[in-house]
Symmetry: C2
Subunit: 238 residues, 2 copies
C-alpha cells in the first residue's frame, strides 16, 4: 500500500461557514494540477437526489479549478472507478453509503485503485468508510449493509466530528464512553478522534494532521494520546 494518497476530513463544513470552506487549501495542495476530473460518490446522501448533492459539491471544487462528476451519471459505476483519476466520497449516512458501495460492487475496485495510487478524498461518512469497518461512525443505522467491513484503506478506525462536549442535563454516553466500549470489544484496534475542522493527509507511509486542534488516539488499555499538527503521526500507519 506504499503508493496510497488519502485526504480524510472530519467534516465537510465548520459551523456557520460555507460548504467545504475550511479544507479548501488542503484539498488544493492534495490534488495534482493534471487531475482535472474528480469522481464523486454521493451515496451517503439520504433524502435528496444524487444530482443535487453532486451540484453542491461541484461549486467549491470548481473554484479550485476541478470538475466533479457524480458516479451515478455513469452507466457502469465499477468502470467509472477504474477510470477515475481522483475519488471523492461525501458525507451523510455511513450505513447507507457502505450499503450502496456493496450494492454497486465497488468495495474491491476502490481498494485496488487507491492502493495503486489513485488519490482518495473523504469527509465524515466518506472518512468512516476508509477505515477497516464502520464500527466507529456516529450515524444512525437506518439501513443494514451486508457487512460492517469497509474499504480498509488505512489501518485505524476514524471517529469523525470528534467532540468531548456534552448536552447539558442529558444522560446519553459521551463520545469517549462509546469509543471505550468499542475498544473493549475490539481490543486490537486503534481509534482516532478527529475534531471538526481537521483532517489527516496520508501519502505513502507519512501521515500528517492538518488543522489547529488536537486529535485523540485511543487504544485498549493505553493512555489516550493527544497529538497536534506538530507531531509525527507516521506510526499510525504501521
Amino acid at each position: 500500500m506504499s503508493n496510497r494518497r488519502l485526504l480524510l476530513l472530519s467534516n465537510s463544513t465548520n459551523y456557520g461557514e460555507t460548504y467545504l470552506k475550511y479544507p479548501k487549501e488542503s484539498i488544493s495542495k492534495f490534488l495534482e494540477k493534471d487531475n482535472e476530473e474528480i469522481l464523486f460518490i454521493p451515496y451517503a446522501g439520504v433524502g435528496f437526489s444524487y444530482d443535487m448533492y453532486t451540484e453542491k459539491v461541484a461549486l467549491p471544487f470548481s473554484e479550485l479549478g476541478y470538475r466533479i462528476i457524480g458516479i451515478h451519471t455513469f452507466p457502469d459505476p465499477k468502470q467509472a472507478v477504474m477510470d477515475a483519476e481522483v475519488i471523492a466520497v461525501g458525507g451523510g449516512n455511513t450505513f447507507e453509503l457502505l450499503n450502496q458501495l456493496y450494492a454497486n460492487k465497488l468495495v474491491e475496485v476502490i481498494q485496488e485503485r487507491v492502493n495503486s495510487g489513485v488519490p482518495y478524498m473523504g469527509w465524515s461518512a466518506g472518512s468512516n468508510v476508509a477505515s477497516p469497518s464502520i464500527k466507529t461512525t456516529n450515524d444512525m443505522p437506518i439501513v443494514e449493509p451486508p457487512s460492517f467491513n469497509a474499504l480498509n484503506l488505512v489501518p485505524f478506525q476514524i471517529n469523525p466530528h470528534y467532540t468531548e462536549a456534552q448536552l447539558p442535563n442529558h444522560g446519553g454516553e459521551t463520545r469517549k464512553d462509546r469509543i471505550k466500549e468499542f475498544l473493549h470489544l475490539n481490543q486490537d484496534d486503534a481509534v482516532i478522534g478527529i475534531p471538526e475542522g481537521n483532517l489527516l493527509e496520508i501519502s505513502d507511509n507519512s501521515c500528517k494532521l492538518r488543522g489547529d486542534d488536537i486529535i485523540k488516539v485511543f487504544k485498549y488499555g493505553a493512555e489516550i494520546l493527544n497529538l497536534s499538527s506538530k507531531d509525527n503521526l507516521d506510526f499510525l500507519l504501521e
Copy 2:
C-alpha cells in the same frame, strides 16, 4: 398479541438522580404483587461485568420488594426466559445487546413469552430492542449483530433519549434529521421519540405515556405529532 404488557423507558436515570429513580412509581404499578422475581438481561453492558450490572439494578428493585436475577447466572438462558415471571432488559449498547440475544438464541423465546403475557420492561437499549429493528438506536455500532431485526414486541420504532438540543457550533446531524433519514429509507415505519424521564406503558391494546414531557411521532410525509400523557396513544399499536 392481546395479552402483552410492556414498560418501555427512554432512559434509566435522569441527569443528577440516583439510578432508576424517576421510573420507580411506574415500575411499582406495572409489576404485580406476586411477581417476586425478575429475570434481568444485562447483555447491553460493555466494559463491566454482568454481575456488577445486575447488582446495580438489584438495589432500586429491592427497595420496591422485588428480587433481580441475572440471566447469566442460569446454566440455560433460554430455559430461564421460559420460566421467567417478568423480563427486564437494561440499557447500554444496543448492538451488543442484540448480538448477545442472537448468540444466546433468545429472540424467539422472548417474543413467545411476552406475547403470552409475561411482562417486559426495558430501558434505553432495552427499549430499542423491543422495536421491529434497532435502526433507530443512538448507539455506536461497536459490534455487528447477525441482523438488525429485533424483538418486534411493538409495531413502532423507539428513539430513546430523544432530544432536540444540539451541541453549540457542532455540525453533526440533529436527532430529527437522523429520524427523517430513517423514514426516507423506511417509509412504512413510525418512530416515537421519547425524551428522557418518560416511558410508555402498554397493556393489551392500550398505550399510555407516563411522564411530563411531549413525545414525538414521526411518519414519512406527515406532520410530526406532539403527544402528552393526556392523549390517547392506542392508535400507535394498530
